[in-house]
Amino acid sequence: MTLVYAGTCCHAPGMTSRAEMAAPETRKQLHDAFARQRQALIDTGTEALVMVSSEHFANFFMDNMPTYSIGMADAYEGPIEDPDWLKIKRTKIPANPDLSLRLINEVMHTVDVCYAQEWKFDHGMSVPLHFLTPAYDLPIVPVNINCQNPPLSPLHRTWELGKALRRAIDLAPEKIALIGTGGTSHWPCTPDSGRINEDWDQVLLDQLIHKRKDALLAYTDEKTISEAGPGAFEMRTSLCVAAATEDQTGEIWFSEAIPIYATTCSITTLYMVE
């Protein structure tokens, strides 16, 4: 049918691997927000979920790094990390290769994307899915934006990717949700892991829900990495979904800096079918 729901959520592996180390009240609020987003997928009759993430060298490497990639596999599998560490059971995740093909074909009219018929999900996909589709009964179309190793996509191109995804989604007969994951400040796997720039995160979330295109496109990678850490390059995933949903103002459903999870955990809704 078209886009029925869009939003963002965090994918911090600490949310499952070190789950119990956060304050119980904070954890409850975070889980409630995920439950609300899960319910939104159900209430809107979502039949497929397009998830925009940034993987962490699980499938793609600098030998041939795709700037943008869209999955077109018959099924996916994840998490690629040690399930005992991530505390998410390794499982098969349903796909919709036919929908993938249609989306890819349409997106390619304005944005060059790679496609991948083999894709193992890392925590960037597996953590959100663990909360949002715990029964793994919703077909996923994974979209990856390289946010790990420069050169990275200019933000105005990521904006165009969001526009292209929206156009492609609106041409499909299925009811589709679009969720971006990642992008608040963090310094993952570095000596500064655990550092969070809360102010930076709040400003970013505000720009995202109000779809302030000019403000979002004015971010520079030099400033982002120095103020919000290399993990914040993942803001591209959220920016992409904001671009896809310029026609509505969004809402922040949860946002809190959780140092033990090494970032600000946030959940936003950027679009909901009327």
Partner: protein, 110 residues
């Protein structure tokens, strides 16, 4: 400048348990397939996480290499800090984009 090949080796080790097994038993043969400098070879031989970090290895690759070699999370973080102290700022790669230490936050919450 063979940071690319150090990272490629770590990427492959993370994904391929059989390669990791060979790395543990006949490291010389495995590293021979990669174009590495003496310093990089030494850091790999000694599992010197601190030096690998300073040489510019991305943490998303390095963390898994540390874990598979028995480093706890805290030991991994400490090894990088020790590496910076001993060898100076990060010389190449992503973290050399800022101050060579991996971070210059304007405000921190910890």
């Amino acid at each position: 400048m063979s940071l690319y090949y150090v990272q490629k080796l770590l990427y492959n080790l993370n994904r391929d348990p059989a390669l990791k097994e060979r790395f543990d038993t006949e490291q010389g043969a495995v590293v021979g397939d990669y174009d590495l400098s003496e310093e990089e070879l030494g850091a790999l031989r000694a599992i010197d996480i601190g030096l690998l970090y300073v040489l510019g290895v991305n943490g998303q690759l390095l963390m898994h290499f540390a874990t598979m070699n028995g480093f706890s999370w805290d030991a991994y973080i400490q090894a990088m800090r020790d590496g910076l102290e001993k060898h100076g700022p990060v010389r190449a790669g992503l973290y050399a984009m800022v101050d060579g230490k991996g971070a210059t936050s304007t405000k921190e919450t910890l």
